[in-house]
Symmetry: C2
């Protein structure tokens, strides 16, 4: 009794400004305590003490928290430490405490790209519902239930289809209760997924799911006409375990339990989206008979519950590349238990099925012209080619374009500065924030605009250094001796200004160089010149919001005419929907996965020189 | 607290002669109490108060049991009642009691027919194991694990096979731990069932299971050469719920729980046999990759967990007739979880897959001659025909041949009189008992011998009546005024003699008439005469032990030359083994199930007249 108590002593926690009272266990970190209480703290590293983002202020019970760690002393100034600022992942509570979560540390609702280009696809769904009026058996007609049903199916080629044992168990009563008028749902002419009483042919739905590292989007599609009826999205609940793929993999590798935890979290999330879609459109989730899944290879493995270990170890091979067909039940998805879940094939360890879906949606696989396709994220997938040949690579562009590791960087949520114009003469700054909120920080597209504006105004040189001779009030040297560009001046304290520092510029420079290196190497491999590029497609949230002229100005993309640059939005989601409604599109996916040639950048002989070249800001 | 106690008061029970002390719940029947304590009582009706077999003697706590019911007063004499004899299913215990289970009421170990005719079958198993030495992936060879494995499979046509998610989850570590030397188990060129480290190609087993109403037999077969390596058998644990199919169905229809209980019991039983086979032969059950199942339609439905309701209701149609392929996991079988379980197809509501297996094993489907196949049991399946046409029917022969409803009838267990010769002149009786034990009663083959001997000696007339003028000491009239033939005279009390009564003869007469009616109607339908029958096959335990000349003497089978009568033993088991080792045999099963014409006897226009005719004992 006594032993137990000392092991599992509970403590009281108050979390402000939410006024939340919760209990936790003695010895837990403030990061864990707030997560358990339902407050997600910003974190890039997933609570590993690396990113310094999970700042909280201990406002009560100072005697009950552990003393500042070395990590905290590194990340926090002594002023901050003395005013109670702490890194939540570093502090363990030994008794009752009260903490304040500053606005920037709470995960805000992120703007998610849900719309993708619309592609007209002839619906060729694999799921088909048949309404059948059966003859009742008599002593003169002794055909058994299943054979009676099969024989009455209107198409010859579906008459040998199998039936899950659970449905066979229901069959006799369903048929008799329905007075022998029944609807059979058949998948791929191969398996009866369900039998229902009466005519239910109109209720036939599918689900296309795009699992991004940051966001998840779920499209509910009517399989009878191929139209999307509703969409729901949310932040991938795995962000609790780290913002990027590497942090997730690191968590999964801690042990079997952690791997399962990641799988369960994402499945729970998808189930939440399913419930949302069904309630919005007023349908029964059991009438969802098929789903397609796209995601990068790590998300793909984690959703499957397959260890991502070897994605993180050289030579970085996935467990499987080809498409997979699973039962919803196996995955734990709350739709028809026998719904087929089609995982689009991947291309390589770092080029996932989202890239296959991008290629499918952009249709570059059937273009005459050489196309360039970019899906920009923490890992950026680059594809170059046309209907004859396609090359793909993955660039470690890092999370800078998602606002991470940038001093005033933030996700694309309310109050983020998303678009900036700098007058090259006066250096006057005009900006727009998401939701027109008070400016809180800079999201990816905003930072790129600023760096592009600084290049255009020649405030930074070819090598990315803020010119010392740029004599303007917008540029100053911070207390720490770092040169910075003031984006928003509050007029009050310097610390409250929103700035872009020299270090931020370096991070953007590295990120854009990574992408540009990929583009250049693929172009070399493909043996194509700049002028030969007929089309540039930018996919993904960042790709949709970034100003192509800014992207070109900083050299992220080559200096192509802007007229050939197209934003294709969430092309991965579009591709997933295409594969959902059309078996032909699935065959195309298989072909794409098999035929796209993966180029490994890290071991490429030109990598170093191309990367060095790509770091430069292009001056014309 | 008080309420609970009164509801669920426990009571103490002592069960003799086992010296077993157990607790039960107040209000339970003695039948339930002993079953829960692990003592199975003989019962034909499954505790419904119909068969009068579950006799016990209350030896202590007389005040704690309910008073004799009407059913008991019907089945028990007043002498028996006054000496404490009761029907266990009728008596409820209200407090502590002691009871004695007489020898004849405890379920004895029944002689089970396990051997069947041996048929040479070319092994064409669906499961194949491949040992593969894979190349380790490198930066120059980035093929993912599953694709690497698939590509290395030595046969082209297996390279697209799928893999269960659980095995995919294991794959990366198995390959790396095995230093890339692995054994893949492939089913039907379609699915990888398992991956193991090292060369495991020799460990490839299958299981053929014959689920009879009374017995279950499990054959462990080496799939590499098709040879049976060991056999185990047991009484079907469902006998706890009644001895015959009707009692089982009645139990299953009580509710979902009861249906599941029957399913679980039989699965547990099969698992016990699997464990026994594996331990006898020293193999790991995970290396059993395929199983085949045969049984009558009720056993088939109950094993699947499909309600047998409509088998018992006109027009008696099964839920499914065709073969089924399920995963071991779905059924709960403790072998490789992804092992395929092949349920042989059935023919009709009362003609199950055991009959398909009989036909397969007897090979009558390819005979030129007209054959007659009998599988005698509570329901007797009759098949007539040859390679051109086969007709089948089911005869409600009842449990008399299994010793039920016969005054001194018993199952074919130790001490049962199994073979009897009556001297037609002296009426001297010579007999043999199973295990040469003290004679305890009569099993089916013994009774048939006796009735045949009585016919031969003309003690009973054409109509089955024991002649009043048969003046012999072997025949007497019992206290109840029933004429009976004394088989074993103890010399002591009359009640201890083993006899065959006039009523017993009537039951045998009804049973043999049922079978003979089936044979005759099929012969009429087939338009064949007695002389055209070229072969008679008798299958099943009773069919193996019954003396064909006795069976012919009582008119169970037509008067064919004995030289054409062959006993084929447990042909259902042989058929199940053939289907296990050969995909070709499975295709034959499908063809048999589709082509055999089922003849419904009950509605046949000649049924009444043929049955009346068949009741007679043939005098030449």
């Amino acid at each position: 009794m006594c032993l137990r108590r000392s092991c599992l002593e509970t403590i009281n926690v108050v979390i402000q400004p939410f006024g939340l009272r919760a209990t936790g266990l003695k010895g837990q970190t403030l990061y864990e305590l707030s997560r358990n209480a339902g407050i997600e703290l910003t974190s890039v590293c997933g609570g590993l003490g690396r990113c310094g983002k999970c700042r909280v202020v201990v406002t009560g019970g100072h005697m009950n928290v552990t003393r500042p760690s070395e990590t905290e002393q590194e990340h926090l100034s002594s002023d901050e430490l003395s005013s109670g600022v702490r890194l939540a992942c570093q502090v363990r509570a030994q008794g009752a405490i009260e903490m304040l979560v500053p606005r920037e540390s709470a995960v805000a609702r992120v703007r998610l790209q849900m719309e993708g280009i619309e592609r007209k696809v002839k619906p060729l769904p694999l799921v088909k519902k048949y309404f059948i009026k059966l003859q009742r058996p008599t002593l003169g007609s002794l055909e058994p239930d299943l054979e009676r049903l099969r024989r009455s199916l209107p198409e010859d080629n579906v008459r040998h289809c199998s039936l899950p044992l659970e449905i066979l168990r229901l069959l006799p009563e369903v048929l008799r209760n329905a007075n022998w008028n029944t609807t059979a749902t058949v998948w791929n002419k191969r398996e009866i997924l369900d039998v229902e009483a009466g005519d239910m042919t109109n209720a036939c739905y599918g689900l296309a799911v795009d699992i991004g590292t940051t966001k998840m989007v779920c499209y509910l599609v009517n399989l009878t006409d191929g139209k999307t009826v509703t969409v729901s999205s949310m932040v991938n609940p795995q962000v609790l375990y780290g913002d990027d793929v590497i942090a997730r993999i690191a968590h999964a590798l801690k042990g079997e339990k952690e791997k399962e935890e990641l799988q369960e979290r994402v499945v729970e999330g998808v189930n939440q989206l399913i419930a949302e879609c069904c309630s919005k459109h007023g349908i029964n989730a059991r009438q969802i008979y098929e789903a397609t899944m796209v995601g990068n290879t790590a998300m793909h493995h984690l959703l499957l519950g397959v260890s991502p270990r070897h994605l993180a170890l050289s030579p970085y091979v996935p467990a499987v590349k080809g498409s997979l067909n699973l039962k919803a039940k196996e995955l734990g998805l709350q739709v028809s238990p026998y719904a087929n879940v089609y995982f689009l094939p991947v291309i390589a360890g770092f080029v996932g099925s989202d890239c296959v879906a991008d290629i499918l949606a952009s249709r570059i696989f059937r273009e005459e012209d050489i196309c360039l396709l970019l899906d920009i994220g923490t890992n950026t997938e680059v594809v170059v080619g046309n209907k004859k040949r396609l090359l793909a690579c993955s660039c470690a562009s890092g999370p800078a374009f998602e606002g991470a590791h940038i001093k005033h960087g933030m996700k694309a949520s309310s109050g983020a500065i998303e678009s900036v114009q700098i007058d090259p003469e006066t250096l006057e700054v005009r900006f727009r924030t998401i939701d027109d909120g008070e400016p809180r920080g800079l999201c990816g597209s905003g930072i790129v605009d600023i760096v592009a504006g600084m290049v255009r105004a020649r405030i930074i040189d070819e090598n990315g250094t803020i010119r010392r001779d740029a004599d303007t009030a917008r540029i100053r040297v911070s207390k720490n001796g770092v040169r910075e560009f003031i984006v928003v001046q509050t007029g009050e304290e310097e610390a409250e200004d929103i700035v872009v520092t020299q270090e931020d510029i370096r991070k953007i420079q590295l990120a854009k160089a990574a992408i540009r290196t990929g583009i250049s190497i693929l172009m070399q491999e493909m043996n194509v010149e700049l002028e030969q590029i007929g089309r540039v497609y930018m996919a993904g949230a960042f790709g949709s919001y970034v100003d192509p002229s800014s992207a070109r100005m900083i050299g992220m993309i080559p200096s192509v005419p802007l007229s050939i640059v197209t934003s294709v939005g969430n092309a991965a989601g579009t591709g997933a929907r295409m594969a959902l409604v059309s078996s032909k599109a699935r065959r195309t996916c298989e072909r794409i996965s098999r035929s796209v040639e993966y180029i490994e950048l890290a071991t490429h002989s030109n990598f170093r020189s191309t990367f060095a070249e790509s770091l430069r800001f292009p001056y014309r």
